[in-house]
């Protein structure tokens, strides 16, 4: 088994070029919004049943950047920033048998319905966890 972090950014551009953004949720119909939430809940429930769900939480949209500013001084903070391209809306950790399975599941989650009931086609970021060193190395 291997753990992967699925990061939800709610965006449709994977690289530098800007593709059409996902319209803000408050411009969807209420039913469309409900369908979106339900899709994600059902997805997580299915993974719980298959024993592949390892965790997940939603994050507030706005955060703060913080850094050390020298001895005896309070930390420096910056933000929150309105820039939403790097927004992380939430994360889920899955524990699956293979990279292929992780990709399959991420593809499925990316098909969550959005405005007009159409899949939102968002890019999900899939990041493998670094594991403990194995017992047998030679």
């Amino acid at each position: 088994m291997a753990k992967y972090l699925l990061l939800k950014h709610y965006r449709r551009n994977s690289g530098p070029e800007n593709v059409v953004d996902i319209p803000p949720m408050e411009t969807w119909a209420p039913d469309e919004f409900d369908a979106h939430i339900k899709y994600m809940d059902d997805f997580a429930d299915r993974l719980r049943e298959t024993g592949e769900f390892a965790g997940g939480e939603a994050l507030s949209a706005e955060g703060t950047f913080v850094r050390y500013d020298g001895p005896g001084r309070p930390p420096v903070t910056d933000g929150p920033f309105a820039e939403t391209k790097d927004l992380i809306a939430g994360w889920m950790v899955i524990d699956v048998d293979s990279y292929d399975r992780a990709i399959e599941l991420a593809g499925e989650l990316s098909a969550a319905p959005g405005k007009g009931g159409e899949p939102i086609h968002e890019w999900l970021e899939v990041r493998p966890f670094l594991t403990e060193a194995p017992t047998v190395t030679e």
């Binding site: 803000p24 408050e26 411009t27 119909a29 469309e32 507030s60 706005e62």
Partner: protein
């Protein structure tokens, strides 16, 4: 072992039935009290009681004791001696306590109140007070508390043992410290439900138990407040856990027995003429409970109670809630005027503003504010609710 496990499997063929998990947990403060009165130090005694509790969960279903409290005291005392011996051996010195436990008439003394005061002592952070109260007074296991607060068990164990060290030798100021006990119980109540323990139910149980040890009128006020809110639990969430605001709740789902109990407690508390913040909040909850719909609610009286509450606490959160009530009592413009007196940085300010703007007919302003409030929401259920509100208003103004 689940809570239900004890009660369900608890009947042996010819012996007595094992107490339910809740009955078992009710014994915990008394057992801990006996150990402390015998001279055990609080921190070790509490560990010993916890170990006895875990043993009870394991052995009682198959072999329930005839005298559950006696069993717990004996087992906990034995565990305490083991723990203290290990400790003594480590430090290489003798403790007279180990050979001859003092016994006597003190065994029946009820010092449950002192236990509450210790576990929610002002020297503790709120999260530590919550954890220690749930374990030492509530008799929950570390694992259950960790699951309820979604933190690893080792983290919760550490939090509890640090808390115990902090309160090992504290002094009590009964009246002042009772306020932090109430705050702690209120925090537990507000945490709601996750894991296999319903923290709201547990908070009510602990507050009721506290109310039986003290006649402090605010304890009754808090218990009334909890019951009146708890009565609405089934109406508060819809399919998929979505939040249903008070105005849209199906009031036939409210638990009338709890409302009646809450109102009765509140009335006898108010009759004593020592108004406090919990009684005032309970009075507001009672007025909501009394109304068949949001329209039939006595908003004028609710505003008056908010004025009382402001006089007692002068909190910006109360000002905010008062502005919403003013909006219902005297119209949206009056509500907006009251809102203008509130500090905008407080939580839920924007959500209240959105609601008042919508009522005032400013749909585009309301949609923008709902969306803004959703971005700042402190929890997922509220964020989803506010996003849905924004979507609804946008749909109403033909923008979707």
């Amino acid at each position: 072992m689940t809570r239900e496990g004890v009660s369900r499997e608890g009947v042996s063929r010819d012996g007595p039935a094992a107490p339910s998990a809740v009955e078992l947990r009710q014994l915990i403060p008394g057992v801990l009290g006996v150990l402390v009165r015998r001279g055990a130090d609080f921190a070790t005694a509490e560990d010993a009681v916890q170990e006895a509790l875990v043993s009870a969960f394991q052995t009682w279903p198959g072999n329930p004791p005839r005298d559950p409290k006696g069993w717990l005291v004996t087992t906990a005392w034995r565990k305490f001696l083991d723990l203290a011996r290990a400790d003594t051996a480590r430090r290489g010195r003798e403790e007279s306590l180990l050979t001859e436990p003092p016994r006597g008439p003190t065994e029946d003394v009820d010092d449950t109140l002192e236990l509450y005061l210790r576990c929610a002592h002002p020297a503790l952070s709120p999260s530590s007070a919550v954890a220690l109260t749930l374990r030492a007074v509530g008799g929950l296991t570390t694992r259950q508390i960790a699951a309820a607060y979604l933190v690893p068990e080792a983290t919760m164990a550490q939090r509890i043992s640090r808390a115990k060290r902090t309160v090992a030798d504290v002094r009590f100021d009964t009246r002042g410290d009772l306020r932090t006990v109430l705050t702690t119980l209120y925090l537990v109540f507000n945490e709601g439900y996750s894991g296999d323990v319903d923290l709201a139910v547990e908070a009510i149980r602990l507050t009721r138990q506290l109310a039986s040890t003290t006649d402090d009128v605010e304890v009754a006020g808090l218990l009334a407040l909890m019951l009146l809110h708890h009565a609405r639990r089934d109406a508060r969430t819809g399919p998929g856990g979505r939040l249903v605001p008070l105005a849209e709740q199906d009031r036939t789902c409210w638990h009338t027995d709890e409302i009646a109990q809450g109102v009765e407690l509140l009335q006898s508390a108010l009759a004593r003429n020592e108004l406090g913040a919990y009684q005032a909040q309970a009075a507001i909850a009672a007025l909501h409970a009394d109304a068949r719909s949001v329209r039939e609610t006595d908003w004028v009286q609710i505003v008056e109670w908010y004025d009382e509450l402001l006089a007692l606490t002068d909190s910006p959160v109360v000002r905010l809630n008062r502005a919403v009530a003013v909006g219902e009592a005297d119209g949206a413009q009056a509500g907006l005027a009251a809102l203008a007196q509130v500090e905008p940085s407080i939580p839920r300010y924007t959500a209240a503003a959105a609601h008042l703007h919508e009522r005032a007919g400013d749909l585009s302003g309301a949609a923008r504010l709902y969306a803004e409030a959703a971005r700042a929401a402190p929890n997922l259920a509220e964020r989803d609710h506010l996003t849905r509100q924004a979507a609804r208003v946008n749909q109403a103004r033909g923008c979707t």
